[in-house]
Point group: C2
Chain length 300, copies 2
């Protein structure tokens, strides 16, 4: 089970009470921070995101509206005496910026910070709960998208049906993994007879800042939730292309081609105060679209 | 005439809806930004501070709560196509940090940014309105205070009394500067006879983050408004000293010794939600004390 909380949905300049980009993906045990615009630590406090559940931060690219809040968050966690590991996945140049800022302040972090430079499309996190893949997106500078996929959830023991068989409890873990049970007499009790499927693993794709790019489709095919930027309304398609951004209907077209379950659009240009047209334009192309709104959690 | 607007009054970590340090000193024509914690550009928008009136930014030291908002403000002004000059006065190492952040983003600012490294106690701004002096304060790392002093305001012509004399209007500018007038017959008309004093020039001293340090007194003697940090209440004097910070009564003692008109205290530790004790402790030592509260403008 995953849920996505939006901490910032504006592009470039903070405006209209909209903060720059930051997403929190939450599983039952963990939370993952994706991009970290200025003010993210304040937004995290506001929406009660516990820093202690955060062990991985992903930065898509080094435009300021996607990372200027990071150094403040990192140093605050140190001031609060964090001791847990923290893994930072980001374009290589960020490491020097952080080290420089820590060194001029004479700060040594209270916790181990592991910097992982993203250099290629690859699996960058793979633990017993989730895998995270980086994929290239086309923007003005080096920029990465992230695909989060839950690990297959264990099957559940059907307590009523299993009571009809003599299966030792020590075998339950294997049943949960899908194995059949073979009795001493050699009779096979098929797994499906005594278990039911676990919750279907969910997936979330974050496409960062990107020009309209159909090569994305294969990378995010069939995800449960797709976040695709929509900086502009459809009438500004040329400006969007010039700046390597997308429009509402371009985001929706990618969602449609990728046959995703749901589309979330955000990274709205500061020129727009009202957002209703973003939704109406996108839903015309891909119906199951929602606006990324600050403070809202989208269950995946 | 000067007024000081507080954009952030908290130390280290944002908490209790208090932002990290940023002050705006406003004269009739200009505004001066002193320190720039994370979120300052958002606070400037909230309190309607016009960026176009800003030509000088002063950074006291390179602890994050005093400058992490700077890069966001600088790049936002560029995104908004600013063309006016901007002067940044700060410890030398900040230049490299800014240049690095601009370069990884491929950003060239739309306006000229002049970096002035502060290296000694000196007059760092001196125009026809104001002088700004840097002075050393004692903190864990290199740290500067700033003394703002308005230029002497021109004397005002007393229109009733001057009508008794035949003084050509072309001489009025000299009268405003304080010169006497000598008639063709050689009679001296003393300046005080036909003019009254202009508004008294005001002064503001910003002491940044500092341990209790009586050598400050001479540097800020008699200012109209003194901002002195008070990170802790008086019972935490030892902790304050360890961290090169001050308490309420230490700030007030400096104000008293310096015989300032008014004291403003701020940079409150995140451990305190309520601030009333800060005021009651400080006023016991120096009566004309106020708390630095966000969004409030203090007329000097």
């Amino acid at each position: 089970m995953l849920a996505l909380t939006i901490l910032g949905n504006n592009s470039a300049i903070p405006a209209w009470d909209r903060n720059p980009t930051a997403h929190i993906l939450q599983s039952l045990e963990e939370c993952y921070l994706i991009d970290c615009g200025e003010g993210t630590q304040i937004q995290m406090a506001k929406y009660k995101i516990r820093r202690s559940r955060l062990h991985h931060i992903f930065i898509s690219h080094l435009h300021g509206d996607h990372y200027f809040g990071l150094i403040g968050l990192l140093t605050s966690m140190s001031l609060l005496s964090r001791t847990q590991d923290l893994h930072l996945h980001a374009p290589a140049a960020l490491e020097q910026i952080i080290n420089l800022q820590l060194s001029v302040a004479g700060v040594q972090l209270s916790y181990p910070l592991y910097f992982h430079a993203i250099t290629t499309e690859n699996i960058i996190v793979d633990d017993n709960k989730i895998t995270v893949k980086s994929f290239k997106v086309k923007h003005r500078i080096e920029c990465w998208g992230f695909l989060f996929t839950e690990k297959r959830n264990p099957r559940k023991i059907d307590s009523v049906r299993i009571s009809a068989y003599e299966i030792p409890k020590t075998f339950y873990e294997k049943l949960q993994k899908g194995e059949d049970y073979i009795t001493k007499k050699g009779t096979i009790i098929p797994n499906e007879e005594v278990t039911v499927a676990g919750i279907k693993p969910k997936s979330y794709a974050y496409c960062a800042d990107t020009i309209y790019d159909e090569t994305l489709v294969e990378k995010i095919k069939f995800v449960d939730l797709l976040y695709h930027e929509a900086t502009y309304l459809k009438n500004l398609q040329e400006r969007a292309a010039e700046r390597f951004h997308s429009t509402t209907i371009q985001a929706a077209a990618i969602a449609k081609q990728a046959e995703v379950k749901k589309l979330l659009i955000g990274h709205f240009s500061s020129k727009y105060e009202m957002l209703d047209e973003f939704l109406s334009e996108a839903t015309e192309v891909f119906e199951n679209t929602e606006l990324a709104l600050q403070g809202v959690s989208y269950r995946i």
